[in-house]
Amino acid sequence: MSDGGDIETFGDPTTVPFWAAARQHRLVVQRCNSCGHHQFYPRPHCLSCEAAELEWVSVKGTATVYSMTTTQVQVYPDLPPPYVVALVDLSEGPRLLTNLVGASCRIGDAVRVTWRERKDAPPLPVFERAGGS
C-alpha cells in the first residue's frame, strides 16, 4: 500500500464513514433525505435530485449478481487466481464491484455481504450466495 495505507486513516476524506462502518462489519451507503435515492460511492450531492442532504445509512446487505467473471491470470502478487470478480446490485439500488466467495454463483443469484479481513486495511465487503449454502 502507498499513501493512505494506514488502517486508521485508510481511504480519502469522503469515505471515512464507509471504512469506519466497515471496521464494525456494517455496509453503509449514502441516502438522500430529499428524494430517498441511495448512492455509492459518496458525493456531496444526490445524483438523482442534486440535493445536498445526504446521510450514511446501513443497508440490508442483500444483493443480486448483475455480472461476474472468473479471473484466471495473476493480477496482484497477493491474489492467486482463480477468483470471481462481480458486480452486485444492492437491494437499495447501488451497484458494487466485489468478489463472490464460497459456493459458486450465477448472474441473477441472490447474495449477501460478508467481510474479508485485511492486514493493512479495514475489512473489505465481499458477497456470498444467500440461503441454501
Binding site: 502507498s2 479471473t71 484466471q72 491470470v73 491474489l79 464491484l97 486495511a121
Partner: protein
C-alpha cells in the same frame, strides 16, 4: 448531406500514415511519430512547417508540448485531451471545429507506442487507497482491461443470449481480413473452434477474443478545402464526428450492454445526415471480440440484443454485408495500446480506394468508431466520405 452546420466550411483528411508496426526495436515513440507525420504530410503535399494544430494523446505529460518540440512545430491550437484509445476520433471532431472556426488550418493528429517492445502494460489498476479505484476496485483484483470487458461480455450474454460462438465470429472475421493485409501481425487461418479452444483468460473471454499487444501508431492530417487542393492524394471529407463519455468506474455503468457510442454515433450520424444503413465500411475499435457486437447495437446496425445473431455467417468478413476491421483490426493486425489512430488510417484508405486486396468495392462512406477508458468509458465516431 447538407444538414451539417459545417457545410459551408467542409473539412478533409488529406494525409494518413502508419508508424512502423508490430515489434519496433530501431525507433523511439517520438521518432515513430515523426516518421508517420512526415509520410502523412507528404500525402498532403505539405511539411512540418505547415502544421499549426497539434492533437496527441499518450505521448507523455503535456504530450502536445513534447511532440511539438520534437517535430519543430509551434501550434496555435493544441490538444492533449485523454479520451483513451478513441481519443483520435475525438481529435478529428475537435480539429474539424478548430479548422472550421479558423483557429488552425492544418491539424496533425498522431500517436505511437512501443508497448510490446517495452513490456510496459499494466494488468492492474493502481492500489492507491487515496483514490476511488484504489479503494473500491483494486482490492478485488479486477484485471485491467480484460476483467472490466469480461463483465460487459458476460452481462450481454446473460441479457440477450449472445453465444461464445458469436464472439468468435468477430475474431475470425478480423483474421480473414488480416490474411489480405501483409502488414498484419497474425495471418494464420483461424476458425471459431480455434477461438473457443484458446485459454480462458477471464470468462467469457478467451485469449483469442482479446486484441494483440503490439507496437505501432500513426498520423492523420485534417485541413480545410483551400489546403486540401495541395493534396497529392484524393482528399476524404469528414462528413460527421461526435463524442461522449459515460463512466470511469464500472460500478457506475447503468447498463453494461450500452456504451457511450449511442451518443457519439447519434451526433456523428446526425451531422453527416446518414444512418447505419448508409455505411459501406465499418472500422470498429475491436479491443475485444464482443466489443464489436456492442457497437453494432449502439450505432444502429441492428436492434438491441441482436448483435450476436448479426455477426453470424461471416457477415463482418471479406465478402460480407458489413465489411468491418478491414485491415485485420486490433484482433489480428495491430493494437498499439490506443487503436483509434489506425481506424482512421484504414477508413481513409478504403474511401480513397487504395486498400489493395482488401479494398471494399464502391466504399463511399466509412465509419471509424473509437472507444477508450476502463470499459467503454468513452466513445467517439467519425464519418468519412467521398466529396
Amino acid at each position: 448531406m447538407s444538414k451539417s452546420p459545417l457545410s459551408q466550411s467542409p473539412i478533409y483528411i488529406v494525409g494518413v500514415a502508419e508508424t512502423p508496426l508490430g515489434k519496433v526495436v530501431d525507433q523511439s515513440e517520438l521518432s515513430m511519430v515523426a516518421l508517420a507525420a512526415k509520410e502523412a504530410l507528404a500525402e498532403a503535399g505539405l511539411g512540418f512547417k505547415d502544421v499549426d494544430g497539434l492533437f496527441v494523446n499518450y505521448m507523455g505529460e503535456e504530450g502536445s508540448v513534447q511532440v511539438g518540440e520534437y517535430l519543430g512545430i509551434q501550434p496555435r491550437y493544441a490538444d492533449s485531451s485523454d479520451m483513451g484509445g478513441g481519443s483520435f476520433e475525438a481529435f478529428v471532431h475537435h480539429a474539424m471545429l478548430a479548422v472550421a472556426a479558423g483557429r488552425c488550418e492544418l491539424a496533425l493528429i498522431t500517436y505511437a507506442s512501443r508497448q510490446r517492445s517495452r513490456r510496459n502494460r499494466n494488468r492492474a489498476v493502481a492500489a492507491d487507497p487515496g483514490t476511488l479505484s484504489g479503494q473500491f476496485e483494486a482490492p478485488y483484483g479486477i484485471h485491467f482491461p480484460i476483467g472490466y470487458y469480461a463483465l460487459t461480455a458476460a452481462r450481454h450474454m446473460h441479457q440477450y443470449g449472445t453465444k461464445p460462438e458469436h464472439l468468435a465470429e468477430v475474431a475470425v472475421a478480423a483474421r480473414r481480413w488480416a490474411q489480405l493485409n501483409p502488414k498484419a501481425w497474425v495471418r494464420d487461418p483461424l476458425t471459431i473452434d480455434d477461438v473457443l479452444a484458446s485459454p480462458m483468460i477471464s470468462d467469457p473471454l478467451h485469449k483469442l477474443d482479446c486484441c494483440l499487444v503490439t507496437d505501432g501508431g500513426g498520423a492523420v492530417i485534417v485541413t480545410n478545402k483551400a489546403r486540401a487542393k495541395d493534396a497529392a492524394k484524393r482528399p476524404v471529407r469528414v462528413l460527421g464526428a461526435g463524442e461522449s463519455t459515460q463512466q470511469w468506474h464500472i460500478s457506475q455503468m447503468a447498463d453494461l450492454t450500452v456504451t457511450p457510442g449511442v451518443v457519439s454515433s447519434r451526433e456523428a450520424f446526425g451531422m453527416a445526415g446518414i444512418t447505419a444503413k448508409d455505411i459501406d465500411v465499418f472500422e470498429p475499435y475491436d479491443n475485444f471480440s464482443h466489443s464489436v457486437i456492442h457497437y453494432l447495437e449502439d450505432l444502429g446496425f441492428c436492434a438491441r440484443g441482436e448483435g450476436g445473431a448479426f455477426v453470424e455467417g461471416g457477415r463482418l468478413g471479406p465478402g460480407g454485408d458489413l465489411p468491418s476491421m478491414t485491415m485485420g483490426g486490433g484482433l489480428s493486425y495491430c493494437h498499439p495500446g490506443a487503436l483509434g489512430i489506425l481506424l482512421l488510417v484504414e477508413a481513409v484508405r478504403q474511401v480513397r480506394g487504395e486498400a489493395g486486396p482488401r479494398q471494399v468495392e464502391d466504399a463511399e462512406i466509412a465509419v471509424a468508431h473509437g472507444i477508450g477508458g476502463l470499459a467503454f468509458s468513452t466513445s467517439a465516431t467519425v464519418v468519412l466520405g467521398r466529396e
